[in-house]
């Protein structure tokens, strides 16, 4: 696939500064740009690379004024970053070979209804009494248990597992190796010190446009449902326990964990390796820092928390700055004691 800079500019609603007939066939990072590639410049930090890049063209904002000579042609657009992501999307759509039809051997149980334009890869497994929406893509080694419902346009990637009775909305993207609907971790202690598993008879329900990362685990509810609402984006290796609720458009980064029955509001941001204990509520737009532990509910929307036991960010940073110098503080106290 090769496009002229004029074609690209037209797609992006922009204008070419330089030779519009030049051809590009690749998207490059500006610092790694090579002839035949097109890059973008949206962050000031990367301006110096503009004067050195070998990329054929660079997408810049309308009002960008170079301070030195630029060898690359420029494509001026309203917002360079947005234009570039549009270009990425167009590129991906063109390069993505349309998957559909059935590869053999594949398995589909009795009573299951499959929509139109569905891709069922070799070694994909669909249980009984499922409902698979139109245009769903089911990759190799995907497992879909009995009674699962999947909305239109959803992608179930290689080796992803939807356990029995899980409900997935439309246009979701379930990444490789994710497990949705495994048993919740609940046990009744017995008198002899052993544990008896409490049956987990609930469900998992995912809204539309939910994204689940690779090897992430989402447990079914003990009763009722574990819910991930519309547009939530979950990264890799995240743990969401039984009866958790993740609000719409909340983002959870890799290796974070949420314990049982906690409810996260809408538009929260949970950074990597954060941990949230059970039975809490986080208000809408709560931000939880990396590796931060949260052990109390957050009632005020828009709160930012950080640190080992989830302090407010400023307070934590101040206290930690003194923590680093505790030996000095201790020394001062010793001096004072001597004097006293």
């Amino acid at each position: 696939m090769e496009f002229s800079l004029e074609q690209v500019a037209q797609l992006l609603n922009g204008s070419v500064e330089g030779d519009g007939s030049l051809k590009v066939s690749r998207l490059d990072k500006i610092q790694e740009g090579k002839p035949g590639g097109i890059s973008f410049l949206a962050n000031e930090k990367y301006v110096p690379y503009l004067y050195e890049t070998e990329a054929t063209a660079v997408i810049v904002s309308e009002d960008f004024a170079p301070q030195r000579k630029v060898n690359a042609a420029l494509i001026r657009v309203k917002n360079a970053y947005t234009a570039f992501t549009d270009l990425l999307t167009a590129y991906e759509q063109l390069s993505q070979q349309e998957l559909s039809g059935v590869e053999e051997p594949s398995y589909c149980g009795e009573g299951t209804q499959v929509g139109e334009g569905v891709y069922r890869a070799a070694f994909s497994y669909i249980g009984r009494n499922c409902s698979i929406g139109d245009g769903v893509k089911i990759y190799p080694h995907a497992y879909i248990g009995d009674g699962v419902k999947i909305g239109a346009g959803t992608i179930i990637r290689a080796g992803a597992k939807l356990c029995k009775e899980v409900i997935v909305g439309a246009y979701c993207d379930i990444h490789e190796g994710a497990v949705i609907g495994s048993d919740g971790f609940g046990f009744a202690p017995q008198d002899d010190g052993s544990y008896k598993a409490i049956p987990q008879i609930g469900q998992v329900i995912l809204g539309d446009h939910v994204r689940i990362g690779a090897n992430t685990t989402v447990d079914r509810a003990t009763m009722g449902a574990t819910r991930i609402e519309e547009g939530a984006k979950i990264d890799n290796l995240v743990q969401l326990a039984h009866n958790v609720v993740v609000g719409a458009h909340t983002v959870i980064a890799a290796q974070a964990g949420v314990s049982g029955s906690s409810t996260l509001g809408k538009n929260c941001v949970i950074a990597g390796q954060a941990g949230i204990v059970g039975h809490l509520n986080l208000a809408d737009r709560t931000t939880v820092g990396a590796s931060t532990g949260i052990s109390k509910s957050v009632n005020k929307p828009g709160t930012t928390l950080f640190g080992y036991m989830g302090m407010d960010l400023k307070g934590f940073l101040k206290a930690y700055a003194i923590f680093k110098k505790l030996p000095e503080l201790q020394e001062k106290v010793k001096e004072l004691e001597k004097k006293a």
Copy 2:
């Protein structure tokens, strides 16, 4: 499936207060109860829902005295919580369609012995010279390497992997995507700065009634065996390294990790995201808090540890309370220095 309240009361050894001929077909949380559902009340926090629930019936303790009018029928039992888990178990057994027989295509290597009533799903793989006990359920995409032994009644869920020569006891439950018996992480540094893998020729041995969570990893021993003893319950995304020993009835929550050659006693509780370094011993009934790091052995049974480097819980909480106010403490010291 529909049952009268009389039938339910009989099953639970309880008595009905209200119309025993009413029918229920579903288990509901009390706060989400709807007609046709039965709920339970075991935690005082939930008492207010009793007066509002639309559930047909609620299971309560013998001596519970409502303070206001209750619309739901009551089923009085000795222990409401235990009764409800009994009901969950009965419900699950009834709703669980018995899996057995062989779905095709499935794979079974030479020299393998398969017991009676075994379920072998489509795309399940069993290697050579294995021994599969009676009533074992092997779900789709499960992988069972050469020489593996599995005790009676064990469940190997979708995409779980038992690598070569792993030994699994009876009535274990190995959840989706778990990997048991992958190579331990051991390398001999070479003079040129590179590393050479140390062959990991040991095993993993699981006792009876062991539970392994989804996408959890348990490494084989370098030599000898990594052991998880009877009744231990391991949650999702847990890492157990080579030559680790987990004592009987020990519980490990999600995303915790235990480094090589550490031994955990019996009836320990390790909370989520905790980390235990290598070559330690934890005494029986040790409790390790969430996200707590343990870098020393624990000799006294029943110890509770918490905090970044595993302090005793009370000590950590006291120190952390002051940590939060370090700026104040620093200010006081400055004042004292001025005065001195």
Copy 3:
């Protein structure tokens, strides 16, 4: 397989002290040694076991002088530890049945080229236009997406997933359930509070002799490539985000995570559960302690960092020692205030 002590000594370039015609068939830990087993002694801590072990023979260093009577025969070598790992390697090679050929059913797409001596297990899936080097072993349920290239001698274990266009070097070992080349976690916030996925069109490139642990996830780059260089060793359940670079011979232990676009130098050691935020550089030979968070670049090669926000190790330990005694320090300040 049975070998005389003479044969073992010859293999290890050592000499027998005792009856060289005795036979061994097993490698035992010295504390668990039984007749017919051979052990080694490399760590002083284990010397007491030498006088008690029932192993037939023990490998010791040339200059080791027992203080009491030893029942086992000794095999004296230059370096007992190295000799023992050589023995492990020889043992593994002998006991490993050579895997090759194709088990059915397996799947291989159009345009894919497969080298000589390749093992393709039942239920393994190879997409279109791939290149599979000589001697590659592809285990059951492994998934290899379109356009993937795999170098000679590499092992793709059960259920490992190489997404489209991933490039894997020679003699790599990709463990069970690992996901290489899943989409990076990148989203453009929309005006209505929702997020739009940024297409991830980049690759993952693994050098030769790279080791990836079980259920580890390595995301493809947004553009360009996520790179893991020659000889790097990655443990289980590790997260490497889009555009991360891991330098040659760097070791990353279990459950650690590296956020997007960070670059780790050569010969770094990242301990378990450590977290490294995005867009950082770590110099060569950086050591990061267990559960340590790194939020700033490290410019000086050979730096060791530890603690919640990645302090230097000594500084952290000093400050933490005082942290533990903060109540005492606070008390002293109160006393001083009273006196003042």
